[in-house]
């Protein structure tokens, strides 16, 4: 059974169809890429999956459960985590606090135990701090843990953004252009992190990316969107041979 199933999904803004009867599925444990020209509806697709947009038609199933009309924060509890394209970190909070916030749904303490910092709250903070420190080690951001994220460079902020989503211990991790605007060294680091997240943590990863080298190397399956329509779905080699995809996005030279 696929982990995430998108069926016949349409999304309209007024008369404009951002997504038009899109269907695909994502298997558990794979790296899945969503590609297409700018404005094709890739981010809209992720927004439907994470609950920021509500589709006008169709359904989304996660782990066998219907989530099409579920509230955004409830989907997070199920294990859908998201890193945004335009960094959406909590700028006045430190790296550590941002990551601790990522564990919000895994924690329980409320106002009273938090305010008294007694028993549960304190135990919980320490316990989850350990999990967060693992991620800080993994992403190699030890030196920045007590800095407010607003002060960090763009590349590091992107890394913290991924870390915050990862702190959730998600079943599926949605990464919206994690490598956009990075130099080649930072891109390589990020690609390495994606592979390690996939292999060591066994997390299913959904990737939106414009760097075809990265996409073709990493992905198990790829879906191609163009003007809100699905024009290709398959393994990287199938996609590279697909005439519709070549025409709309990849271009002629790649087939040579």
């Amino acid at each position: 059974m696929p982990l995430l199933e998108v069926e016949n999904l349409s999304l309209h803004f007024g008369g404009v169809a951002a997504l038009n009867e899109v269907s695909f599925h994502i298997e558990e444990g794979e790296i899945f890429s969503l590609i297409g020209p700018n404005g094709a509806g890739k981010t809209s697709m992720l927004n439907c999956i994470s609950g920021l947009y509500h589709p006008s038609q169709g359904s989304i199933k996660f782990d066998g459960r219907e989530i099409t009309h579920m509230k955004s924060y409830k989907r997070t509890e199920l294990g859908i985590a998201r890193a945004f394209q335009n960094i959406e970190l909590f700028k006045n909070m430190t790296v550590l606090e941002n990551l601790m916030l990522g564990r919000h749904v895994r924690m329980k303490s409320g106002v009273l135990s938090g305010g008294f910092y007694w028993g549960l709250a304190q135990k919980e903070e320490i316990e989850h701090r350990k999990a967060v420190e693992d991620i800080i080690d993994f992403l190699e951001i030890e030196h920045y843990r007590d800095q407010p994220v607003g002060m960090l460079s763009y590349g590091l902020q992107k890394r913290v953004e991924v870390g915050r989503a990862l702190a959730l211990d998600p079943k599926i991790l949605l990464l919206d252009e994690p490598m956009a605007g990075m130099n080649s060294e930072e891109k390589e680091d990020m690609a390495r992190f994606v592979i390690e997240i996939h292999e060591e943590r066994k997390t299913t990863v959904v990737l939106i990316e414009h760097d075809m080298g990265v996409v073709m190397d990493l992905s198990d399956h790829i879906a191609v969107l163009d003007f809100g329509k699905l024009i290709g779905f398959g393994t990287p080699s199938e996609i590279q041979q697909n005439p519709k995809v070549i025409e709309a996005y990849l271009g002629e030279e790649q087939t040579g």
Partner: protein, 353 residues
């Protein structure tokens, strides 16, 4: 033993518990203890007049911490604080005089009732932001004051109600010193509670809602729940400040809770520092003492310039407004930030490289 006069070259913490303490550095911890000790013996050293002023400052600080939880930490502006103070004061007044309950029961109840009222008026905050939310809380201010001044049978209408100072174990807290200690214990409790809140899960969620509510929701925070919760927690502390103030001045009446009071509290957290617990206390002291200091100044000057006393009433408002504007321009993060800058400066002094 460590030399207390020498700056350490590094602080090493070996456990997460140590690293997550409120005051991590021993030297800083001793300073905090010293400050608390000073204020614990304050009424034994200073004359009654100053003890009374300190009590008023402390009560304002409790309310300011409450407001800061909402406006500074959660980013939800409220100009209904005056009315919420009134809800606290009147709840305690009604419970003690009409139902004959003890202060020790009516006091926490005043907080809880205010929290409930605050949560109710916080419901629109899910849809409203910024200026629009300010208007909604302004409506709360107007509605609550209207109810208070027109429900004659319960609140005594515009005439207000008279309250008693509480007693504990037969010892009346009617003296300035006794009431000071009551305020002192509650202020310390409030400050520690707020600081703890913001190093644990719920407080972090509040700050996340302020910084980026869209991302907060995707990270699993139920915006509605946390916004209403912020109103409730904030109003609880504003409510107990209101009850404390009511029993201190021994009177509650509608004009004590006007919009002027709301603006003063907003000024406290602006001057003190948005999103800072200690800042709320600095701001409350600053704004409470401002008119007192100003009056003292004018009385001194009027020896040389007769007739200056007449301008005092107007001058107070002018200075008040000017100070808020100056803070907004030169130090929007308030006194708390100025204090931090000063400490940072002396960390490296005299070798500032």
């Amino acid at each position: 033993m460590r030399n207390p006069f020498v700056m350490e070259c590094g602080e090493f913490r070996a456990s997460y518990k140590e690293d997550m303490a409120l005051y991590k550095i021993p030297r800083v911890r001793y300073r905090v203890y010293a400050i608390i000790a000073f204020f614990a013996v304050f009424p034994l050293i200073f004359p009654e007049y100053y003890v009374g002023l300190a009590t008023l400052c402390g009560i304002a600080a409790i309310g300011a911490i409450g407001l800061n939880i909402l406006t500074g930490f959660t980013g939800l502006i409220s100009i209904g604080v005056g009315a919420f103070l009134g809800v606290g004061g009147y709840t305690s007044a009604i419970l003690t005089t009409k139902l004959g309950l003890s202060f020790w029961i009516s006091f926490p109840l005043a907080g809880i009732v205010t929290a409930a009222v605050g949560a109710l008026f916080g419901i629109p905050s899910l849809r409203l932001k910024g200026l629009y939310l300010a208007m909604a809380t302004l409506a709360a201010q107007v509605i609550i004051l209207f109810v208070i001044s027109h429900w004659d049978s319960l609140t005594g209408g515009t005439a207000g109600m008279v309250l008693q100072r509480p007693s504990i174990g037969g010892y009346m807290l009617s003296s300035e010193t006794g009431y000071y200690y009551l305020m002192f214990v509650i202020l310390i409790f409030t400050a520690i509670f707020a600081m703890n809140l913001f190093r644990s899960r719920t407080g972090r969620a509040f700050v996340a809602v302020r910084d980026r509510d869209l991302a907060a929701e995707v990270m699993g925070i139920n915006l509605f729940k946390y916004k209403v919760l912020a109103f409730a927690v904030s109003s609880f502390f504003v409510g107990i400040a209101g009850a404390l103030l009511g029993h201190y001045t021994m009177i509650v009446s509608p004009e004590l809770y006007s919009i002027q009071v709301s603006i003063e509290y907003l000024a406290m957290i602006l001057v003190g520092g948005l999103g800072s617990v200690m800042g709320s206390i600095y701001g409350a002291v600053f704004i409470t003492l401002l008119p007192v200091v100003l009056r003292g100044l004018i009385e001194t000057l009027s020896v040389f310039m007769p007739g200056l006393e007449g301008v005092f009433a107007g001058l107070r408002e002018v200075v008040f407004g000017a100070i808020i504007i100056l803070f907004l321009i030169y130090e929007p993060e308030g006194l708390a930030k100025m204090w931090r800058n000063l400490k940072d400066y002396f960390k490296l002094w005299p070798f500032s490289y």
